[in-house]
């Protein structure tokens, strides 16, 4: 674990044992480590994707690169991504668990599709998430950061690289998140959407906090 990660783990635990990380949502014990879904390849390649765990699913559009994390997920989970360009750009989807690549699939085909899953067999795509709460974190390309994302009962430590889309599966109460970018990170641009509507926006750095209103 990096020094920053160790520091994060310490600070998060300390906050959780006091009045809550955000000061407004109470005690939040850490949730289990989360898998991340890395959509990589030729930078700027557009795609559509369906992400599903066993309880909820989300559809999204984006461009390479993008990290996706599902907070409060219930495995198994899967992602199906389709390139939406007819060129030969590479689209590669990796699932990262811990520090290893659990699965990887790539395509260079025009409008090619790739799919990966983790944690067992997902027999069907789950129903659309309700509520559909997402946090999009933009920052310097490919730059790593740490974050704590929590509802009123549980907090998840996320180590990812910008840009990241955090999907919160079935939050218990309101959600907030704090991002730690390190001294040379620059600024985060954070957007929180609830059922498709932007409910909070924060531009701050190198650390930033966003709360559901």
């Amino acid at each position: 674990m990096s020094a920053l990660g160790a520091a994060m783990a310490f600070s998060v635990a300390a906050c959780n044992n006091q009045t809550g990380f955000s000061g407004s949502v109470g005690n939040t014990p850490n949730g289990p480590p989360l898998a991340s879904y890395e959509i990589l390849g030729t930078i700027g390649t557009p795609f559509t994707a369906t992400v599903s765990d066993s309880r909820s699913s989300w559809t999204l559009q984006g461009v390479v690169p993008l990290s996706i994390v599902i907070a409060n997920n219930i495995l198994p989970a899967a992602i199906v991504a389709t390139k939406t360009t007819s060129n030969s750009n590479l689209l590669s989807v990796e699932i990262i668990t811990g520090f290893r690549v659990a699965d990887v699939q790539s395509t260079s085909a025009p409008f090619g599709t790739v799919s990966v899953q983790v944690g067992g067999t997902l027999n069907s795509i789950a129903s659309p998430a309700s509520p559909d709460l997402r946090i999009f974190a933009a920052g310097p390309d490919q730059e790593r950061y740490s974050a704590l994302v929590e509802d009123i009962t549980t907090g998840w430590v996320i180590n990812a690289r910008a840009p990241t889309l955090i999907l919160f599966d079935t939050p218990d109460g309101k959600v907030d998140a704090t991002f730690f970018g390190g001294h040379d990170f620059g600024s985060f641009t954070l957007d929180m959407t609830l059922n498709g509507a932007v409910v909070a926006t924060v531009v701050h750095g190198p650390d930033a906090t966003i709360r559901e209103p």
Partner: protein
Amino acid sequence: MHRTARGLIVPFVIVIGVLLAGAGSARASKKALVEVGFVGVPPPNFQNVLLNVQSVRLNPKASAAPGNGKWQTIPVPPGIGNAGQSADMQIDLNTSQNVPQLFNTANVQANTYQIAELRLDPNNPGSLIPDCPKSATLGGGNTTADGCINYPFQLATGNNPLTVPFPGGLIFPGNGALTQLIFEVSMVVNSPPTVPGGAYTVTITLASPPTNPIEMGTVTGSVNVKTGSSGSSTKIRKLAVTAEAIGTNTPIATAPVKNGNFTLILPAAGGNNASLLGFGTLYDLAVAGGTDTYAAERLLPLYPGQTITVSPAFQVTGSQTLGNITGSISDNCVAKKAIVGATLQLLIPPDSNSAADCFPTIASPDDYLQCVAVATANTDNAGNFPLPGTITIPPEFASVPVQSKSLPNKGAYVMEISAPGYDNLFVYAIPGSSKNGGTCGTDGTTFSACNLALNTGYVSGSIQVERPNPGQTTEVQVFAEDHGTNNIESALPMPVRVTNSNGGTIGYTLNVPTSATVPQGFDLFAATVDNLYQSVSDPNKGQTIAVLSDVPAPAPPSGSGICDTKTANFSGDQTITCVGHGSVTGSVANANLGTSVVLSKQDTDSGNFVAITNTPVQNQSANSNPLNSYSFCAPADIYQVQEWQLPTPDSSAAPSSSPTASPVPDIAAVVIIPTPLSAGGPNPTPTPAINCPTTCENSDGTCPGICNNVIQPLPPTPSPTPTP
């Protein structure tokens, strides 16, 4: 008539060679550049032979221990991961049998290296997708494992690490020089899986240089920087020359400009049945970076072993004021709808054709095809551009040299904006120096903020989809391609999710370019995309593909928000249903590196064939054992396979636009992939098993069994021979 647009169709010889290649970050002690690539010698009868490569490393000592401190690492490219992170780059040995697939270019210490090591993901070294079986494959007994699905592989005992030693010196990268290191990666299957869903055991060997001819060429030249008189910037991109696939903004490799010079080593298609030198690969060069003006060139075809020296040298002017171009891209038909993933390119004419007008007009509608992209941006999830750069490198659209207002169109650049499902838009763009800088206009005289909207139209209709069993879902994607071509224009922004309750007839609405861009209209096909097979992902589907030909293109918007819709209902005989998959394999006579094969399905109402997918013809001469092979995995059904051909580039002239492939008359055949025998029962085996190997399930709980292969040579003699 085909749509003519930059970068819509990439020559096939480029497709198989295109991967990310970027210069690694320079360090004080690492001043030599090494470019790594792979050529594959895969085992026969596989659709894909995929290696998950994590890095390549070099050591000056042939007997160096794994922990030796002198290993120099070439990591995966920047788009895949950064140093020290877990990331795999997937290399397909099948598609790199002739032209090398570039891995990455990185800085290393200048030295004589005596050993190289290919490092695969230790947990997941790769996977194999076999053709459908022609004979027993499972454990060597009388049982058969399914084809067209993913199988992991493991390295045979003792086959790790993967190294290629050469005590006399494998490569000798010197300071400031670029050295190529091409591995020939050969795989032999030792044993097939012993249980359904199990792993192949394989042996991989490396050779460098490859035993077959290396299909690479060199492009070199100079960049003369004339001192300018304007401002400067401290946070800039370094001056570099990027080779792009002709007519696109797809980078193949980038070389820094050192002491006014650059060198690129690029894939170059050789082979027979073309010109005396080989087929040839076409590139554009873009010069950008520093505080210098842009420059560009379109090259003659590059042939294996050849060196193209760009002459005359590029002339750029330094010390320019750098500005930015920012803004947003939205939908002209739906208020406030952002377009995610739109691509913006700044175009300039090549030095050798400086009169080319990059802004299409009625008088010169296609001149812009001669232009070269020198800067690219994309929109984010809110439709804003550009995406952020890294901490040290700003995005290309934040480092645009400001041109003199005395130049035509007030010194504006021509900017092309494209997005799948929308008409391309061309505007003039002037970089600004403020945080919200940059202005755009369409007439070259009036400029405002670069908040632009793209035109679109709609195709809406219905598709028949067999109801999935309760608790299961099917995701259906609809694709639109230019009528009579295999050029896909758009797909649904989100696939349609089909369940037992909403199955039967489903509706769809597809954004497509208007008749102003695609006057010939569209062919549509719909396929399932939730290709997950048990605990591994499966790239091939078990449900039929629906096709619909000759759908008229909607008219351009008659006003903002007033947009046209055409109705296109798929015929009832095109119901998407579970049939299981199969494969088609064969060889193509007299193929060259511009030859591909297209798989089409007939729209029985119109009689037209709708292209579904294509593949290059692989393993051609001058390889030592050329097979000229192709293969497809597809749902069991009736198809046509047809040879398509790119024109052979003219060795004496740079083309005015990217060439496009066209069907070869009469080199086509109808193939019937037999439906697998039904297997399983009301309670099919829930794990990967012989009895239920495919990706879908029938309504009675049975499922398609082991898939079939059809052998179909082109030209079509003899007749198709199904091998159940």
